[in-house]
């Protein structure tokens, strides 16, 4: 058990290093893009003087390595800075900066919450479906059922997300008005309404992630079916379903857990298109908007959240795979 703890601490330490590297890469990349926040926000009305004023206001006049390290120093103490966009509007409205509403944390928090909610609903639908389909496909391998499941999940993963989204809107919102096609959730909305509004984007995401998880479940189990202990179970007269669920599945958990973790990370980081189609106020939309106006602090923080999601979910998957191995759970 101590070894697991050591792995966790080691990986967390490496995770922090990864996050710093990610933040640097993002910073360099955003700076390398043509134009900056001042040009983006002023657009047609851009003049040198107005541009300089805005740059001074948000600190863009300083050399960029100074900006990076002052940001990094603040981030390490938990302060992710001020959104350029919010700071700007606050200044025009005559408020003094630092009222608390304009921090990056404040602008990201509700969006992140929405994204996690959507990811959670999608995962709750997709993971059980994938596991059950994978188990059934392994049980009825090479039958019509197996082929059909494979073709269906593969086609859904191969289609563009917006296409799937529009098909679902057509089927479930237009032809059969069961679900709302707009997912404009807001704060203070009752849970049930929020859940209903989230269902269509969640179903779209389910179609996108199911194939990967289901196919890995099927492959991991079929891979074990040639092992002597499965033959032993067959020779004990155990039913095929029980062989798959009781004898093969517990030994196939490690690869399955890893694929589930990868897909959960995708649900958090890769949902921009679905959010746009359903007008869902998640972190993906905020991220794209911030890139457009070169709002570096928000881009930075969003990227760090995405990277952290990958790191933490993979770490969780590794720990769970280790714990799923009885040799490690019950040492000699």
């Amino acid at each position: 058990m101590n070894s697991v703890l050591r792995i966790v601490l080691q990986r967390l330490g490496l995770g922090v290093v990864t996050l710093v590297v990610v933040s640097f890469v993002i910073f360099v990349a955003v700076n390398a893009m043509p134009g900056d926040f001042a040009q983006a926000i002023l657009g047609q009305g851009y003049t040198e003087e107005a541009g300089e004023a805005i740059r001074r206001e948000v600190g863009l006049d300083k050399p960029y390595f100074v900006r990076y390290f002052s940001w990094l120093g603040a981030a390490l103490t938990g302060d992710f800075g001020t959104s350029f966009a919010k700071a700007n509007f606050a200044a025009y409205a005559g408020n003094t900066a630092g009222s608390g509403l304009d921090t990056v944390a404040a602008s990201i928090a509700p969006r992140l919450e929405n994204t996690l909610f959507l990811a959670g609903v999608a995962a709750m639908i997709a993971v059980p479906i994938s596991l059950v389909l994978g188990l059934l496909a392994a049980l009825y391998r090479n039958t019509i059922f197996d082929r059909f499941t494979n073709i269906f999940t593969l086609s859904s993963i191969s289609s563009p997300e917006f296409f799937l989204a529009y098909i679902l809107i057509l089927l479930l919102a237009v032809l059969n008005p069961l679900l709302p096609s707009l997912s404009n959730v807001f704060e203070g909305m009752p849970f049930s309404e929020r859940f209903i509004k989230t269902l269509l984007p969640a179903l779209t995401l389910t179609l996108v992630v199911t194939a990967h998880m289901m196919r890995m479940t099927r492959a991991a189990i079929i891979n074990l079916l040639a092992s002597p202990y499965i033959e032993m179970a067959r020779l004990k007269g155990i039913s095929p379903m029980r062989i798959i669920v009781v004898h093969a599945l517990p030994n196939a958990l490690a690869p399955i857990i890893n694929v589930i973790a990868l897909n959960l990370a995708y649900l958090i980081t890769g949902v921009v298109v679905v959010e746009v189609v359903f007008v869902y106020p998640g972190i993906g939309q905020l991220f794209v908007d911030s890139v457009k106006i070169r709002d570096i602090p928000v881009v930075q923080a969003s990227c760090l959240i995405f990277a952290a999601a990958y790191i933490l979910l993979n770490l969780l998957a590794d720990v769970l795979s280790i714990l799923s191995n009885p040799r490690l759970r019950h040492p000699k």
Binding site: Y229, A233, L235, K236, G237, P250, P326
Partner: protein
Amino acid sequence: MSEKEVLVTIRDLYLEGRTDETWMPIINGVDLTLHKGEVLGLIGESGAGKSTLGLAAMGFTRDGVRIKKGSVEFDGIDLVNASAAVKRGLLGKRIAYVAQSAAASFNPAHKLIDQHSEAPIQHGVMAKSESEADGIELYRRLRLPNPEQIGFRYPHQVSGGQLQRAMTAMAMSCRPDLIIFDEPTTALDVTTQIEVLASIRDIVEQFNTAAIYITHDLAVVAQMADNIKVLLKGDEVEEADTRTMLADPREDYTKSLWAVRSFQRPKKPAVQKGAVPVVRVNHVTAAYGTTPVLFDVDFEIHEGRTVAVVGESGSGKSTAARCITGLLPPKEGQIEFEGVAMPADYRRRNKDQLRQAQMIYQMADTALNPRKTIGEIIGRPVQFYTGLTGNERRRRVDELLAEIELEPSIYHDRLPSELSGGQKQRVGIARALAAEPKFIICDEVTSALDQLVAEGILKLLARLQDTLGLSYMFITHDLATVKSIADEVVVMKDGKVVEQGPKDEMFKPPHHAYTDLLLSSVPEMDPDWLTNLLAERGVDNIGDAAVDKM
């Protein structure tokens, strides 16, 4: 015999296995009759179709195997045409199976007792609590140490011999009418094998269970079976009751199987006093990382002699070989060749020093590069050590091939996959000879081979020793091999040498207690051997031995 009820009847059974796209025959028209409470031994070399036939008696075929024609009847039920559900109802309940490798055949994710009571629960024979209590009782009868608790462990927490007995208990869980034992002791050390054999025999007798006992070891089958059936390449050679079969086999093939263990080297004169040994392992202590594995190991190997290093798995035999070759530099002590100390690490030995110690491995399959032809495999060390190239190299390779009795014109350009197991092992020998060494380490070179083929390899090694004056370090756990070829014996246990000396002395009492246990555990062809041995040792001793191994 005739008054007993018939349990299994196999008539004119033909089985086929698919290789690539064609179906090849595995079993060609075998008949088999088994009565209730009777034990039938099935013996034959690998590829004879023993396991396939044993499984077919359960109505089971592995993937890629099919029944072409013939009938299998179990207690009046036609297993060939029975539905999957009918067969599932019989398997585990009335017909059970004990596999060769218990370690691989127990599910690593579940406790032993849960796997034990799975069949009784699923077949509705017993409730969980009842079946667990019965399991503990069976563990006790099979003399497993700590029967109350051992079932609540996971397979990896239990030793191989104990697992094999737990698997026999599991097969007994529904009190079946028939158990198929598929080489249940082949993977075990001799001392462990005895415990398992005795347990299996007892329990089969107690419950009057019929059994088919599959093995390639004649001495083992002699202890276990009422009748013996000999198979060769899917055909039945002959069947008779055990005593008749041992005393008076009818067929030549059976006689040749029986004769294998009679190969014996003549005794050599004693080594002269003061002669410098070819290899001296000088008080070597070694460790893997911080885990010590060898303790003050000290022995010599003289010119033209074979020193057999024996012991159970994990006793440090192969580690000693790794020290000699320099793969594992010793912590203390040194390796001397002809009186000169060698650099401990093989990377610091020069070509001539490397040439001195050659190895032949247990698994010729994995020790030969599958992508190189035989000529390249042997030619590479020829060129490396002797500097011969072109036609000279080719001539030397052909010489070596002739030496190992493989026709050069046929085998020079073949790939290892086109050779049989015995032929591959011969190529391994030729590759060692290519360096023109004085000393060869043979690491379990015959244990993966059938007895007839193994005998051929032993004879070849003996002839090479006589003509080339080679010295061998012969690592083995098979004492029959030791008897036939060794001059001297080194017995190892837990990384220490417990006893060493000339073979004749070693096989004569008095021995070190461990050597005695080892020697007396080697099965003999006498059908009463196990019974006598158990009487001699007293049953309790076996239980104690098992506890010691925990």
